[in-house]
């Protein structure tokens, strides 16, 4: 979004998405407390943290699928949860999202899955849609699988088709929910490479939710660590590798005990064993 500064010159806001003092929870419970995050244009940012810490929920909040309890989420200058249905749909048209298991439409083949957003949101003629779909599938290396059904694809291939669908309309924002979960090392390397190259080629802003340290640290520009509903640490991969914070060290070095305890809260062992 471009703005005019006091000298009348056009400038572009550096952050495409900003989360300000966000609190969220289901019912009485609180999942996030006073979270602040900024996602810069053209950068690949990651949100990391243990399972169940609310990483995916942040993506759903950005997409306007959930309402925060307090605070705000601003996407391209617009407060997401202040929008009506049409406003939220307009914001979502700028987004592409890769779901954890691909979420491909099982009744459509690979080609039609990628063509889906184009057919829904544009009036392009079918021959042009065909060219664009083949272009996107070629970018993820799956042009040869265009006639296959989702049930015929491996986990890695499904993820790549879903990625082609997510970038079908050249979105400004691409969100990835656990893109590496359950993938073999080769597929993982392919997805890593695609996330970085597509982000740079499209000039997009990418947000990755993940707990895979090695892959994320190899290509992300900026990383947020979530713990206990708060941002526990943030910085570039280099800064976080040098961090002395116990939680960050435990997470990065995969230590089984530390600030995140191995044991869930429980009464004394002897009490449970009735000794």
């Amino acid at each position: 979004m471009s703005h005019q500064n006091i000298l009348g010159k056009q400038y572009v806001m550096e952050e495409l998405i900003s989360i300000n003092n966000l609190s969220f929870g289901y019912g009485e419970s609180t999942l996030h407390k006073n979270i602040n995050m900024k996602f810069s244009r053209g950068k690949v940012s990651a949100i990391m943290g243990g399972s169940g810490c609310g990483k995916t929920t942040i993506l759903k909040l950005i997409a306007g699928q959930l309402q925060p309890k307090s605070g705000e989420i601003v996407v391209d200058g617009q407060v997401v949860h202040d929008q009506g249905r049409e406003g939220i749909y307009n914001i979502r048209r700028k987004m592409g999202m890769l779901f954890q298991h691909g979420a491909l439409f099982t009744d459509l083949n690979v080609f039609d899955n990628v063509a889906f957003p184009m057919r829904e949101h544009t009036n392009l003629p079918e021959n042009m849609i065909k060219d664009l779909v083949l272009l996107k599938l070629n970018a993820v290396g799956l042009r040869g699988a265009q006639k296959k059904m989702p049930s015929e694809l491996s986990g890695g291939m499904s993820r790549r088709v879903a990625l082609a669908r997510a970038i079908a309309l050249d979105p400004d924002i691409i969100m990835y929910d656990e893109p590496f979960a359950g993938l073999d090392p080769i597929s993982m390397a392919v997805i890593c490479d695609l996330i970085r190259s597509l982000n740079d080629a499209l000039g997009a802003t990418s947000i990755i939710v993940t707990h895979d340290v090695a892959e994320t640290f190899s290509f992300a520009d900026y990383i947020y660590f979530l713990a206990d509903g708060e941002v526990a640490a943030e910085g570039s991969p280099k800064q976080l590798l040098a961090s002395k914070l116990p939680f960050v060290r435990q997470f990065i070095h995969s230590e089984k005990d530390g600030p995140v305890p191995f044991h869930v809260d429980a009464p004394a062992y002897g009490v449970d064993l009735q000794l």
């Binding site: 997409a63 307009n90 999202m97 979420a103 491909l104 889906f116 957003p117």
Partner: protein, 261 residues
């Protein structure tokens, strides 16, 4: 005293949760109406669903109808013969089918065949995040998934009920005329004279439209509301059959008491 209070509280809580679900179902219906215009822009989606819910239900409908018609022919003949009026078998078969069995049995079969398929499909789409993916792509799942299935059910059900009645009458004809030997002229002429278009056929059609609405909206709501787990989808599918069947039988009694008194 405490036990009594607990029982009353339990009943109240159960009633409240059922009312909440009824409200959510009603809200879904109004959303379907609102999004139907969007949905009709891609009429191919509704036609595709008519194929899945209507055309693919034809086999079970036709086969069941023929057997029901044959049983009606046999039972009707044995009873009417005692009173020397076996020629009235055509009227008995036709009225039983057009007024009651056509709409009711078709609705029960429709709930079992198409309703469960709708609930399971939508429940699984929810569990595999396909509905969420659609939402994030700024495509309304109500317009794209729910509304076409609703209108397909509303269109298919009366047609299936009509086919059921027609095939059932042929089943009755086969047994009464071709097997037992009742006079063919009496079979058809008595039917023609005693089956009234506006009182019998139209009322039967109204029943099938009401049942089609009930079965389809229940199947859609159960799928849309199902917890996104294997167990959740399984329970939702079971609920579709149970609630649809009870709704059809209950509505049939209410409609019959208004229509044929």
């Amino acid at each position: 005293m405490n036990n009594l209070l607990n029982i009353i509280a339990g009943l109240g809580s159960s009633f409240r949760s059922k009312m909440i679900r009824l409200g959510a179902g009603t809200r879904l219906f109004f959303l379907i109406i609102i999004y139907s215009a969007d949905s009709f822009k891609r009429i191919g989606l509704t036609i595709r669903e008519i194929y899945f819910t209507g055309v693919l239900s034809l086999v079970i409908i036709v086969v069941s109808a023929f057997f029901v018609g044959m049983v009606l022919g046999l039972q009707g003949y044995y009873t009417l013969e005692k009173y020397g009026s076996s020629e009235a078998i055509g009227v008995l078969v036709a009225l039983a089918l057009v007024r009651e069995l056509g709409p009711v049995v078709t609705a029960l079969l429709f709930a079992g065949r198409a309703g469960t398929a709708i609930t399971a499909e939508i429940g699984l789409m929810k569990a595999t995040e396909q509905l969420s993916a659609m939402e994030v792509m700024a495509v309304s799942p109500i317009a794209r998934i729910i509304a076409p299935r609703f209108w397909a059910g509303m269109i298919s059900m009366p047609i299936l009920a009509t086919i059921f009645s027609m095939v059932g009458i042929l089943g009755g004809y086969f047994i009464a005329v071709l097997v037992i030997g009742v006079d063919e002229g009496a079979f058809w002429s008595q039917m023609q004279a005693n089956v009234d278009f506006s009182n019998d056929i139209v009322d039967g059609a109204i029943k099938s439209i009401v049942f089609g609405f009930a079965c389809t909206i229940i199947a859609l709501f159960e799928g849309f509301d199902a917890p996104p787990t294997a167990e959740g989808v399984s329970r939702a599918t079971t609920r579709t059959v149970v609630i649809s069947s009870l709704a059809v039988l209950g509505l049939d009694f209410i409609l019959t008491s208004f229509m044929f008194v």
